[in-house]
Amino acid sequence: MQEWANHLCENRQFGSKMTDSKYFTTTKKGEIFELKAELNSDKKEKKKEAVKKVIASMTVGKDVSALFPDVVNCMQTDNLELKKLVYLYLMNYAKSQPDMAIMAVNTFVKDCEDPNPLIRALAVRTMGCIRVDKITEYLCEPLRKCLKDEDPYVRKTAAVCVAKLHDINAQLVEDQGFLDTLKDLISDSNPMVVANAVAALSEIAESHPNSNLMDLNPQTINKLLTALNECTEWGQIFILDCLANYTPRDDRESQSICERVTPRLSHANSAVVLSAVKVLMKFMEMLPKDLDYYGTLLKKLAPPLVTLLSAEPELQYVALRNINLIVQRRPEILKHEMKVFFVKYNDPIYVKLEKLDIMIRLASQANIAQVLAELKEYATEVDVDFVRKAVRAIGRCAIKVEQSAERCVSTLLDLIQTKVNYVVQEAIVVIKDIFRKYPNKYESVIATLCENLDSLDEPEARAAMIWIVGEYAERIDNADELLESFLEGFHDESTQVQLQLLTAIVKLFLKKPTETQELVQQVLSLATQDSDNPDLRDRGYIYWRLLSTDPVAAKEVVLAEKPLISEETDLIEPTLLEELICHIGTLASVYHKPPSAFVEGSRGVQHKRLPGSAGSGESESPDAGSAGGVSEAPPAVIPSQGDLLGDLLNLDLTPPTATGPPPPSSGMQMGAMDLLGGGLDSLMGDESEPPHIPPRTHTPQSPQLPHQSPSPPDYSPTELGGDLGGSPAMGSGFGGPPAAMPASFSAPVSGGLDDLFDLGGGVGMPMGAYSPPKTIWLPAMKAKGLEILGTFARRAGVIQMEMTLTNKAMSVMSDFAIQFNRNSFGLAPAGPLQVLTPLSPNQSIEVALPLNTVGPIMKMEPLNNLQVAVKNNIDVFYFSCQYPISMLFVEDGTMDRQVFLATWKDIPNDNEAQFQIKDCHLNSDAASNKLQGSNIFTIAKRTVEGQDMLYQSIKLTNGIWVLAELKVQAGNPNFMVSLKCRAPEVSQCVFQSYEAVLKN
């Protein structure tokens, strides 16, 4: 920084050019002192020059905060430029000098009443940027005036200032009633004011999702639509983005809004166009498809989307990412526009890759010839990533458009002839998928493929080739030699290749048992004895066991018919797609991730959904907890949330290839791992004992886990034979969105996946919430003969205080009443204590008092302490008891997995508390069931090296979420539980509940 200033100094000290850079020249020592003197000069000009020098120093990163009082002294000036500079200085240093910043307050307040609206606005704008509490207090009065200022320039600035202030002190804004004023500004006569008010309200609403601020009704919508025609391009974006949050009441309203929004598609600003597209894409959902207007609207959307491709490259990129979503949601819009996505030589790489992706999505029988010609052209380019993706794209075309498969294969063979290493490898990977899609059609090319065996150095390509050799072993004469050659370096191979090699050799053995016995023994021993990879060992043992006990069964399992792979390998999971459509134009649409995955503080924010369509018979997918108590249906494809969760759990055991797509089957592996793990973890735990199947220590309490049966033959056979064959990653872009599983593939896997993902579906839970046994709360001797035993329970969602009142006195007791002191969670009796008949001596009565949590709140020590007063005809007695916090766990405490991920990451590690639960003799499923009875929901599970990790969420009545990770190791009675919560104080209590629930 200094250098820059000095450099400028050298260059310019003789220069006569009068530019601002001259202010950078005084960066010598003692400068601060000099500046101080200049700032206090009587001459206005000199003062201004000095302030400019100060700002120049600030700009190059020098600390000039020492000059704070001197600069603030210059604030009272009628020179607007000087004032702006001083304000700028204040914004920068006020936070570090809060006490001195107060000095400026008076001038601010005065400036807010200046006759010049520019100065009023400037003052209110700057004040909002000074994030010092003491100053904000003084801001309220000027802000109130400015919100009602006669000049729209001041009002529009004040509107934004409300959002600023809200960001610093939300309570203050509410108390001062600024939110209402802001809402009033939506009806302002000036469109700029309206736009800024909308922007400010949206901003506040976004950070406070439950505030219900943007209470959009047809009247306000009408006002917004009117302002839309008159405000600046930016204002139009604010308004359109706000409109997109509205859900019209019916298709008529939806159509009339669409009609008023469509003209925006002709705006020169791409951002206006995209925001309009967002509104239209969303509202279109409500229009009946047979409506003429629906067709008109579809037609209107294509041209502006295409024109976006003439914008600047960065905007093109955003547009292309969004078009990718739009094409998935409504393919009909752009189906005739293939050509515009052809790649140009000078397109930036990020544009090229996106165009390629869209080309594949639009590929159809009608245009496939053109597309293939283009792809072939691209595959001979030099940009490695682009070429790879082009080759993959050819494979995807083959799978998507059956008629083109032959041409695709021959194109791929041509490309293999080029001998360009990475082209060959990509080609082999995709050809494997083509084999799977069209069995017994193209196997004649195997010989050509085999020629290139030696040049394959990428794990994915090696694995693909090995799969091919194993799968078609009977047609390849020297299959054993080929596979044997891989075996030499077995331990240097990646897991992916090792697993594949193991399976391939087993397949080979089953097909040609006589020649390959030695080979199969070799690979089994390599896999089971010399490897420390549990996946590999487990799979090796399964094969070993299968082959040694029942070769026929082995054949059935290993050589089973594989499910066909489907073309739509990389579609975004539908609910996520819907959410992303609601976020068109934003970062979420660029990342293809929901905002909750990358924005802090957005957990718990409702995921946006498209409105249901009217009259078209489409129904929204059922929400959790819908009729019949059936939990949320497992999605047909593994949602990419799964991958996200996988991220969190480090589930992805395969080392990612450097430039390749995400490992081909992270989803698969999850499935497979669980499958193998479920049955064999425990038995493989004991290394010294070679394969045998001991009875599994599996409590039969898991009716919802039908697929997790204990012996291998029950596994869905395709799992073991099909393994790598399906290539869910085939279509996934480089660094693109996580690949979803092909739909057809998910069927056999779903067993395993259900286990993984849908443990939370509490269907017919056998156990209720845990309730501790009654204890003596109030001994008779302390209460003139009244003895109270009590406990707490949660029954059918209702918290109850269950008491046994015993009269140990000599006289009858009556007129019972109960009251609670203020407590941490606002527990209060929901009704009077129902003791209707007087209590005779030595008589006992059972009372259940329903409680609610809307009482006054005061933090107690310990947190779950409750002070109770019981009155009867004799006296008032006081006692305190502690309730298990588990009764505050609500039934809808299942957190979305993705939200879980984000939240877990987001909560600082300091908030994490770890506890050990000793002597708990349950397996993880039983534990999970038990906990669920008390509304501790397991939302994901994974198994690593015999250790089950359960990821659980809990929601308290006051909305606090607690996230837990429970580690259960087979054979180890000590569980580890880690709790993360934004309010770490509850952790201790929650842990106690864990212990209590698990041990009872």
Binding site: W234, I237, Q370
Partner: protein, 424 residues
């Protein structure tokens, strides 16, 4: 909603000037920008959005500057990029050139502009003509004239000030059509379209109401006229000043124009156009010895028209040497830093055909680096003519003072993205 802060960086990633709008992202985060960018470049995967932790960088590059917006929210990305480009536009209008030096030379104005252009992440007034009325470059004093916000800032008409006066009221209309063509190596046209633009230079007093009439087929169909040639515009984009809902309802292009120069509208036409200058090329590469290039250019437009400043750019291998040329007209030049032969023809009449031959030597040791296959590109301008046949039929100018104003129209067709792939 959009940006938390805006930074202007030099090529090394050093912050030249910045403005923190929301304070929710640590300003020091920008230090990660350069290393992230380099990382992406190394991986060959440059991307306009990058993230570090929960901070997202959206950036563009202009001359020797990076303009970067940071955010930690789900911002409207298209708005941010539009805004960054608007920033470039405003700065350029203020300082002629936007580059490192102009930022340093004008930091006071830059700060003032940053303050006015965006507030708390919301873009505000970004029309540079209007901004220039109250943010002046001479470091203005607070004079009486400046003590008012120009009403334009908050007016519904935010692009034109009141009280503009001209002695002679005129408006100049330029209709410019750019031809984009992509031709395959085997000579088939893969895609072609026309991107047209209508630019105005308005020198009109007061607050004139303008109405532009084009031979728009949709309009003619609406009004029932169908005389003469009409044009189907696939997509039309308008300047902020045009009343979009009016256009949507009756195809009338009505507006109060900004003063001076502006782009009133642009349109795209999808019709299959014959490439106006057709190129046939034979490029033969004899490894280790030579490259022979033969290029034939043909004017496929009316004989009466003339294409000016035609440039045919033919790629050559990067290790080529000792160029020799022969041309039937114009002259050819080797531009080694771009690995191109540029064949220039000052005046190219329609229907004519010209030829250029080039010969290059190749070193006996071959360049090992794989080279891409850049296409042949062509540049040209044909005045007095639009490919689409679009015409300005009238321009009505009404101002309450009732002056007479003259509209002048000019047509020109030029090359846009005009690429012909080659076999080599």
């Amino acid at each position: 909603m959009s940006a938390s802060a805006i930074f202007v960086l030099d090529l090394k990633g050093k912050v030249l000037i910045c403005r923190n709008y929301k304070g929710d992202v640590d300003m020091a985060e920008i230090d990660h920008f350069m290393s992230l960018l380099m990382q992406h470049e190394e991986d060959g995967l440059i991307c306009p959005v990058m993230s570090h932790g929960n901070v997202h960088f959206m950036w563009i590059k202009h001359s020797n500057l990076y303009l970067v917006a940071t955010t930690n929210k789900n911002s409207n990305a298209s708005l941010v990029y539009s805004f960054l480009y608007k920033l470039v536009e405003v700065f350029t209008e203020y300082f002629k050139e936007l580059e490192e030096e102009s930022i340093q030379d004008n930091f006071v104005v830059v700060y003032e502009l940053l303050d006015e252009l965006m507030d708390f992440g919301f873009p505000q007034t970004t029309d540079s003509k209007i901004l220039q009325e109250y943010i002046t470059q001479e470091g203005a004093k607070l004079e009486v004239a400046k003590s008012k916000v120009p009403t334009t800032v908050t007016n519904a008409v935010s692009w034109r000030s009141e009280g503009i006066k001209y002695k002679k009221n005129e408006v100049f209309i330029d209709v410019i059509e750019s031809i984009n063509v992509l031709v395959n190596a085997n000579g088939s046209v893969m895609s072609s379209d026309i991107v047209g633009s209508i630019k105005l230079k308005t020198m009109l007093s007061g607050m004139p109401e303008l109405r532009l009439g084009l031979n728009d087929r949709v309009l003619f169909a609406l009004t029932g006229r169908d005389k003469g040639k009409t044009v189907v515009m696939e997509d039309v984009k308008f300047h902020q000043c045009v009343r979009l809902s009016r256009f949507e309802s009756d195809r009338t292009i009505s507006f109060i124009p900004p003063d001076g120069e502006s782009e009133l509208m642009s349109y795209r036409i999808n019709t299959h156009v014959k490439p106006l200058i057709w190129i046939e090329s034979v490029i033969e590469k004899f490894s280790h010895s030579r490259v022979e290039i033969m290029v034939k250019a043909k004017g496929q437009f009316k004989k009466q028209s003339v294409a000016n400043n035609v440039e045919v750019r033919v790629p050559v291998p990067s290790d080529a040497d000792s160029p020799k040329f022969k041309t039937s007209t114009g002259h050819a030049k080797y531009v080694p830093e771009k690995n191109l032969v540029v064949w220039t023809i000052k005046s190219f009449p329609g229907g004519k055909e010209f030829l250029m031959r080039a010969h290059f030597g190749l070193p006996s040791v071959e360049n090992e680096e794989l080279e891409g296959k850049p296409p042949i590109t062509v540049k040209f301008e044909i005045p007095y003519f639009t490919v689409s046949g679009i015409q300005v039929r009238y321009m009505k100018i009404i101002e309450k003072s009732g002056y007479q104003a003259l509209p002048w129209v000019r047509y020109i067709t030029q090359s846009g993205d005009y690429q012909l792939r080659t076999n080599v």
